[in-house]
């Protein structure tokens, strides 16, 4: 902590010149933001490829994938994916996507880059912690990747790593030896990184706001990042000790999660008295807030972008949405038990957990209605960013609706652990958050790299993705209704065999939608080096990031003291040269 007070001093006068200081171990929040974004980009690519592999396996269980045997001779002999390798792919897909994409990109990535700018600060409160935060996360990523190359492969216990499968060790199956150890260590490191990040976000938001930037004048994106940081602070502080206990159970012979008298692959385990449910409680107390850590930043990003392209402020101003996000964040700590309705927990507590879970739909319903009500009477401008915002609203509705089913214990007894659940959280958490990331990318890239992205490619990317995700995840609801259990590497049960064609359809859709993402990758890379120069405020937006150059100078505002004089979303203003009022009028941004 004592390092903290040194920060106002370590602020560097002039940008560092050395490559290492400038691009690698940089203290500049903008560079760190881009580093997070790049890490998420790499992670999302890996995660997508993994999903392709196991989708192919689900459609055609005995199909040989040429070349895979060279990557994993044990996992895919002759290119045919074994049941345990399917689970490994699934586990790594879930872990990578949830932790290294959905937490990194919308929160740590965009947040690091734009939170200080949007509040008129010239850097985060603790640049050194900021740098440590990224490099810890990066180390976590490397450790996670290492699991692919250990002897018997990555862990097979799913991203939730339920004890006792995760806590027993190698007897539990291939991948549960070193692979699971690496998993636990990686997640522990990730927690540390995110804790440092959250600390930074909170302190920065509270203390480094410039003159006139009152809390009610903060853009919704900043609000979302702030709230997310508050959620993450507690969530990751809960997961970290859980991971430590798991590692001890696996390596030090303790019995936190391992009960007595377990016989795993004919070996009587030397444990006594542990509680497998304890892991589930610790995990989901983190796990449910984690869902909101993924979705609330995306929510804020959309709420931040939409007014710009509607050319009108949101219905009811920013306060309603802020209230919704705060309420959701608060409630998210009372509902973890709805993941455990049939876990052997006391059936009475199921009802206690189900009520707040249903109540949590209220803030999100209100927020959705606010979005819809805001579109009424707007002057919608269509481009990649705004399209992804509208797409976000649609998929968020689709995903939120299915929450009504799973929040009820009496339906969970039928739908629990079926593809209905997979469809639900992919729509509401994964796809919605990814749409938020895409919207943010198309909206902010001009500012981040100073070049305009290609709109035609962007729109094409939107349409293929939008239709694609519905083709992938809508059918999963039907599978769930038919009782199709998730995490099955092949469908041998009589009642599942008729459903295989649906899986084939989903696989094809997934491959095509995945292929469409290469348009995005191409667009991004092409823009980075060959895109046309971006003006300072291409979207006629109002918030502070648009009153500086693209990309912003090293200290964000070229030494100008920003004084905020207006609310964040003053659009549709009449009687002026423009239909909008910038948040600050101090010194027009210097042109290129």
């Amino acid at each position: 902590m004592s390092d903290a007070s040194a920060q106002p001093q370590v602020h560097h006068l002039s940008p560092p010149t050395g490559f290492i200081r400038k691009h690698v171990f940089s203290l500049d929040h903008k560079v760190i933001g881009l580093q997070y974004y790049g890490l998420a980009l790499a992670a999302v690519f890996i995660g997508m490829v993994l999903s392709w592999l196991f989708r192919i396996h689900l459609g055609w269980a005995t199909a040989a994938i040429p070349g895979l045997q060279f990557f994993s001779p044990n996992g895919a002999p002759g290119g045919v994916i074994t049941p345990e390798y399917y689970l490994s792919l699934l586990t790594m897909h879930g872990t990578i996507m949830v932790f290294f994409v959905l937490t990194n990109a919308p929160f740590a990535g965009f947040g690091n880059y734009f939170l200080p700018i949007q509040i008129g600060a010239e850097d985060m409160a603790f640049p050194r912690f900021n740098m440590m935060s990224f490099w810890t996360t990066f180390a976590a990523f490397l450790v996670m990747m290492a699991a692919f190359f250990v002897h018997d492969g990555p862990p097979i216990s799913g991203w939730t790593a339920y004890a006792t499968l995760s806590s027993v060790g190698r007897d539990a199956g291939p991948g549960q030896a070193m692979g699971q150890n690496l998993w636990a260590v990686s997640i522990a490191l990730f927690c540390i990184g995110q804790l440092l990040g959250s600390l930074n976000f909170i302190a920065t938001t509270l203390d480094l706001r410039t003159k006139g930037m009152s809390l009610s004048r903060m853009p919704l994106a900043t609000w979302a990042w702030f709230i997310t940081a508050c959620i993450g602070l507690l969530a990751f502080a809960d997961l970290l000790p859980a991971c430590i206990l798991l590692i001890l159970d696996r390596t030090a012979g303790t019995s936190f999660f391992n009960p007595s008298g377990m016989v795993v692959s004919d070996n009587l385990q030397p444990h006594s008295g542990g509680s497998p449910l304890l892991w589930q409680h610790l995990f989901w107390f983190f796990g449910h807030p984690e869902v909101y850590i993924a979705i609330i930043p995306a929510f804020g990003i959309v709420a931040h972008i939409l007014p710009t392209f509607m050319r009108k402020p949101l219905l009811g101003g920013v306060r309603v949405l802020i209230g919704c996000m705060v309420a959701a964040g608060f409630l998210s700590y009372m509902v973890w038990g709805h993941h455990m309705f049939v876990s052997g927990m006391n059936p009475y507590s199921a009802i206690l957990f189900s009520v707040p879970t249903l109540i949590i739909t209220i803030p999100f319903t209100v927020a959705t209605l606010i979005f819809l009500g805001s579109i009424y009477g707007a002057n919608l401008r269509f481009n990649s960013a705004s399209l992804f915002c509208l797409g976000f609203i649609s998929v968020f509705i689709s995903g939120g609706i299915s929450g009504f089913f799973l929040a009820q214990p009496s339906l969970d007894t039928y739908l629990h652990a079926t593809y209905f659940v997979v469809a639900h959280f992919h729509f509401v958490m994964a796809v919605a958050a990814i749409f938020g990331i895409f919207a943010g990318t198309y909206f902010w890239m001009p500012k981040m790299i100073g070049r305009m992205m290609n709109e035609t490619l962007g729109k094409l990317h939107f349409w293929l993705t939008f239709i694609g995700v519905y083709c992938i995840f809508m059918p999963m609801h039907y599978l769930g209704l038919a009782g199709n259990v998730r995490r099955y590497s092949a469908f041998t049960d009589n009642y599942l065999i008729p459903l295989i064609p649906v899986h084939k359809f989903i696989t094809v859709a997934a491959l095509l939608t995945g292929a469409a993402q290469f348009i995005f990758f191409y667009n991004l890379i092409h823009t980075r080096w060959w895109g046309p120069q971006a003006p300072d405020n291409p979207w006629e937006a109002t918030t502070l990031e648009w009153s500086t150059t693209s990309p912003p100078p090293f200290d964000n505002f070229g030494g100008r003291h920003i004084v905020v004089t207006a609310d964040p979303y003053e659009y549709g203003v009449e009687g002026g040269a423009t239909d909008y009022v910038m948040q600050t009028t101090t010194g027009a941004a210097t042109k290129h």
Binding site: T204, L208, K211
Partner: protein, 220 residues
């Protein structure tokens, strides 16, 4: 957080960008905010561990109490003492600041004396902190001699986990104090604030130990 007492550092120091700290710091002191945020996070993770302890105690029939090493109580006293010495050193430094701004001519020497006095008490605090860690290690050794190891039973497992995690946090505090002392010796800008920040953390770790001791005494 205690933003009221804070006077924004004026732009005297040549190394800071012109007036930027004035703008950025008007809302509060980042380090102060940060330390409170960190404290709440640490509190959260120990709360998680405590609830885990309670669940685990209920889940199995193998929860055995064991005799706590007496040295734990001595450690507690040491830690409380360290909090006091830290406060003393803070007072000295505060006095040093006030007397250095006093108009009288001899003030400089007085200030110097008070500063060195403060440093003395700071070092005392550091020593006590390290002494505490040594004491914890001794406590572990005595358990080990009784054959109570990490994996012996759930109660010992939790004892080792809790004390180890607390010890790590305390060592972090020690490092922080060393850094602060270094800054104070260099008479760096708002090193005072750093000391205050470090004190908040140090007292928290102190309280945390109190809480843990309670848990341990009641449950083990």
């Amino acid at each position: 957080m205690s933003t009221a007492t804070y006077t924004p550092p004026q732009t005297t120091a040549p190394r800071t960008r012109v007036a930027v700290p004035v703008v950025t710091a008007t809302k509060g002191i980042p380090s102060q905010t940060g330390v409170w945020v960190a404290v709440s996070a640490i509190a959260m993770s120990f709360a998680a561990l405590t609830s885990a302890l309670i669940v685990r105690e209920g889940s199995g029939t193998d929860w055995h109490r064991f005799v706590l090493p007496r040295i734990l109580y001595l450690d507690t006293i040491i830690l409380i003492a360290s909090s006091f010495t830290l406060e003393v050193s803070r007072k000295r430094f505060a006095a040093a600041v006030s007397s250095s701004v006093a108009p009288s001519g001899s003030s400089a020497s007085i200030a110097a004396a008070q500063r060195s006095d403060g440093l003395y008490w700071l070092n005392m605090t550091l020593t006590l902190g390290l002494l505490f860690v040594v004491g914890q290690v001794l406590a572990w050794r005595s358990l080990v001699f009784q054959g109570l190891l990490l994996a012996t039973g759930p109660s010992t497992s939790f004892f080792y986990v809790l004390t180890a995690m607390h010890g790590l946090h305390l060592l972090g505090g020690v490092l922080g104090l060393i850094y602060v002392g270094y800054r104070l010796r260099r008479n760096a800008r708002n090193a005072q604030t750093s000391l205050g920040t470090a004190a908040v953390y140090w007292h928290f770790v102190d309280l945390l130990w109190f809480y843990l001791l309670m848990v341990i005494v009641i449950r083990m």
